[in-house]
């Protein structure tokens, strides 16, 4: 009935089905809040996998705890939703166990930069051929609003009612200095760019780090879509991704949050 009345909706739905990305979605309904940036990340990933024609049987996702931790449940793949902070070693084990798999580690800013921060430099320096997507909403959202390692100094949250005293970490800067061979940043509000960056990350042989700015619309009233639409800009055309120095310089810019591939080089990768 609905489709008979709304033929154009039916047509666009058919197009989406034909494109095939939906085949990468599992039957589970996401549990994220309406408006969460994570929906866009899931959609971009299924589109990227579809474009690259990687069969779901060869996709393995290891995740930690947090809103991002549930990610593999909603994707048609072999998923391992582990414990807090261990997405990277879990994914490392998956890749070592079967090098034919396309392996992802997914985790939030709390997961990867607080409790699991010790694993990050080592995954990077090993150059294990996995893709690490860091979902950064600058808040502990699953536990309903506590400060996170990427929250700005002065952030008022439930655990910092008088404002946070700590300096925020800069994930891109960290990743560069750890020796990652692929470092990029995406914003979940810029869907196509994010999808293309995912494709580049997957294609990169070695440790690919993708920093994804993904607003939490419920608990974070500071890092909003408006803020990121205002401050996220593609890296300047003159940026050379082969230049480590340029990448470091662009990563340090806190006013303009550059998106795109900051740095890429090739080094023997651990399989």
């Amino acid at each position: 009935m609905f489709y008979e009345k709304n033929k154009d909706v039916k047509a666009s739905f058919d197009t989406v089905v034909q494109q095939g990305a939906l085949n990468y979605r599992s039957k589970e309904m996401p549990i994220w809040c309406p408006g969460c940036g994570d929906f866009a990340i899931a959609q971009a990933l299924v589109e990227a996998l579809n474009e690259l024609a990687i069969p779901p049987k060869d996709v393995a996702i290891g995740s930690g705890i947090g809103c991002s931790g549930r990610f593999p449940v909603f994707i048609k793949c072999y998923g391992f939703h582990g414990v807090h902070g261990r997405a990277l070693p879990l994914a490392t084990g998956m890749k070592l166990g079967n090098e034919k798999l396309t392996v992802f580690a997914m985790g939030g800013d709390g997961d990867g930069l607080s409790i699991g921060a010790g694993h990050f430099p080592h995954a990077a320096r090993r150059n294990i051929n996995i893709n690490y997507f860091l979902f950064d909403n600058s808040i502990y959202a699953l536990t309903k609003g506590q400060t996170s390692p990427t929250a700005d100094t002065g952030t008022v949250s439930k655990t910092t009612p008088f404002g946070s005293l700590d300096n925020p970490l800069n994930p891109v800067l960290l990743s560069l200095s750890y020796g990652s061979t692929f470092v990029a940043r995406a914003f979940s509000g810029y869907h196509h760019e994010m999808k293309n960056l995912m494709i580049k990350a997957i294609q990169h042989e070695g440790f690919s780090f993708l920093h994804i700015l993904t607003p939490c619309v419920v608990f974070n009233k500071q890092k909003t879509y408006e803020l990121y639409y205002d401050r996220c800009k593609p890296l300047p055309k003159s940026h050379k991704k082969s230049s480590f120095d340029q990448a470091m310089k662009c990563a340090q810019n806190q006013k303009t949050l550059y998106t795109g591939v900051f740095y890429q080089n090739s080094r023997a990768a651990l399989q």
Binding site: G62, Y78, F80, H81, L96, N98
Partner: protein, 584 residues
């Protein structure tokens, strides 16, 4: 013949080395050997170094308190052992300069009267041949093999093999020092009082340490991923696999910490690869979170915990059996696990294979509890190691079941088929959250009970399939012993000792500690009046676990000396229990 030799000197004098060379030489001539090193945690300690080697014409699995031959390369260092030697012991020492006999504080002055002194100018012989005194340990070895009547040629052959990499000159010099000391004894010490001859049978045995046997078991089980973080005393497993795994297409990774190591193991096991990690107490404490995950997410996981003195950093180079509680109870929530504890070096091999079999079959963590004594002792192996028939025991779903596939299907035996990535159509996400049969996180009470039930049903299945408990000894005995791990060697030897003194004993021996072989335990308890439980921990961790049977029958024997229990220690306890029973 049964001879215990104590090598004593200061660290850096090559005490462990001559212990090893003697061990290899004796084993190559068909003598049964047990060799245990003990040294400080420091790399080159200023302290003492000693090694104990027991030689016998029958198999041995523990030490006695006796010292039949004391080999001293440093007189001061040997003072601690002076009171431990017996009247008929032989002392090999450096008799140059000769005036030491008069020194009141010399260890020679502290020896009991009647011991046989076999002085040899060790330093002088070394200097004569090499110009340096470093070879005096070899001179001591030369004197020792004369005393033991071990063929000089066998020892020379071992020296040539042992130092092959050091080159011909090195080997030639060492052989010359060895021969010089040997021939000196031949002319100086003619009478039989200077000899403790051991029978040489000719057909040699291989020698292995517990750590080596675990690594060999892992190789035989086709372990393909080893993830580890260095820790005493488990590191030799890591080092051996780092060398040998690549040859069978396995991979080894040194992770940033133990949490990462066990996470890598879980990730790799998830893909169907047989994988393991090995650690000791402090590392094991860190790994506990992943044991819970392995249990909940039903992902195989093999952990070897080589116990050392604890808690905390504790006593890194001393033996203890104090990690049973953490192995049993470590972690929050109701977690499933299997615990294996080999009792000798051969069982280190077979238990390592079993650990992989069980981890995959029952999709849960398997903890192999070794200890410093088991891991670091070298022992002759008398049976041939069997290669496992199967090296994949994971129950995988049949392709016809794809439509009705549920990863955590509540089956009769609790085991749900587990597909591995790369398989078409059986997609699922496993999770540390409570989940329903399909793997979707849900929290309702009925489901939590059903899934917990299912996970624990696997342990019931396992108990039926893997139980290896046996009751050894006199069926009519009134004294029973339950023993686990490396202590069992001393217990079994004490059983024979007791028999010779007219005391009957029966021993419950099991390598599967969890699931607990309850029936065998009840059978033992109901058939005896007292149950002795010797353990190298303070609390009596196994004894506490067994209080559910007949607590008043339990007699605990807890030692935390850091030195392995001997059959004499156990025998003394048996006699005490026997006295109590007689008075009653």
């Amino acid at each position: 013949m049964d001879i215990t030799i104590k090598f004593s000197g200061t660290a850096g004098q090559g005490i462990q080395t001559i212990g090893d060379v003697l061990t290899n030489t004796a084993a190559s001539t068909g003598i049964h050997v047990l060799n245990f090193r003990s040294y400080g945690a420091e790399i080159r300690a200023r302290g003492n170094s000693d090694a104990t080697v027991r030689l016998s014409n029958t198999p041995v699995s523990s030490f006695t308190d006796d010292i039949d031959v004391l080999v001293s390369t440093q007189r001061n260092a040997s003072i601690v052992w002076a009171s431990a030697v017996k009247q008929d012991s032989i002392i090999i020492f450096d008799n140059d300069p000769k005036q030491v006999f008069d020194e009141k504080d010399s260890f020679l002055a502290k020896l009991p009267p009647g011991v046989t002194l076999c002085g040899v100018p060790l330093t002088l012989f070394s200097q004569e041949i090499t110009g340096a005194s470093k070879g005096k340990n070899i001179a001591a070895l030369g004197a020792l093999i004369y005393v033991l009547d071990i063929p000089l040629e066998s020892c020379e052959a071992e020296i040539a093999r042992f130092w092959k990499r050091k080159g011909d000159l090195f080997v030639k010099n060492n052989c010359a020092i060895l021969r010089k000391a040997y021939e000196y004894c031949q002319t100086e010490y003619l009478t039989e009082s200077y000899r403790k001859k051991i029978k040489v049978t000719g057909k040699g045995f291989p020698v292995l340490s517990g750590n080596q046997a675990v690594a060999k078991g892992a190789l035989a089980a086709k372990c393909s991923i080893y993830a580890g973080y260095p820790i005493t005393p488990a590191t030799p497993i890591f080092e051996m696999l780092a060398k040998e795994l690549p040859a069978q297409k396995g991979k080894v990774i040194q992770t940033e910490d133990e949490i990462s190591a066990i996470s890598v193991v879980l990730g790799a096991s998830f893909t169907g690869a047989r994988s393991m990690t090995a650690t000791s107490g402090p590392g094991f404490s860190l790994m506990i979170e992943q044991i819970g995950l392995s249990s909940m997410a039903e992902v195989p996981c093999v952990i070897v915990c080589v116990q050392r003195g604890g808690p905390s950093t504790g006593l890194p180079t001393k033996t203890e059996q104090s990690d049973l509680n953490i192995a049993l109870y470590g972690g929050h929530g109701d977690t499933t696990r299997i615990i294996l504890a080999p009792t000798n070096v051969s069982e280190c091999y077979s238990c390592a294979i079993k650990a992989f079999d069980y981890a995959q079959r029952y999709q849960m963590p398997v903890i192999l509890l070794s200890d410093f004594f088991l891991a670091n002792r070298r022992e002759t192996i008398h049976e041939t190691f069997k290669k496992p028939k199967k090296t994949d025991t994971l129950v995988k779903p049949k392709s016809s079941t794809q439509k009705s596939f549920k990863r955590f299907k509540n089956t009769k035996n609790g085991i749900s088929p587990m597909p591995i990535p790369g398989t078409e159509g059986f997609y699922y996400t496993t999770t540390g959250l409570e989940h329903n049969e399909s793997g979707t996180p849900v929290y309702d009470p009925e489901n939590h009970l059903a899934q917990t039930d299912k996970r624990f049903r696997k342990l019931k299945t396992a108990l039926q399939e893997i139980n290896d408990a046996e009751i050894i000894g006199d069926p009519k005995a009134k004294i029973g012993i339950v023993s686990w791990g490396s202590t069992t060697g001393a217990v079994l030897e004490a059983m024979s000792l007791a028999q010779s003194k007219g005391i009957s004993i029966k021993v419950l021996k099991t390598t599967v500690l969890w699931p607990l072989p309850e029936n065998s335990i009840k059978e033992l308890f109901s058939s005896v009046e007292k149950v002795l439980i010797p353990e190298m921990n303070y609390q009596g961790q196994l004894a506490s676990l067994l209080t559910f049977v007949e607590a008043d029958k339990i007699i605990r024997f807890n030692v935390i000396s850091g030195i392995p229990l001997t059959s004499i220690d156990i025998m003394q306890q048996i006699e005490k229990v026997n006295d109590v029973l007689r008075k009653e």
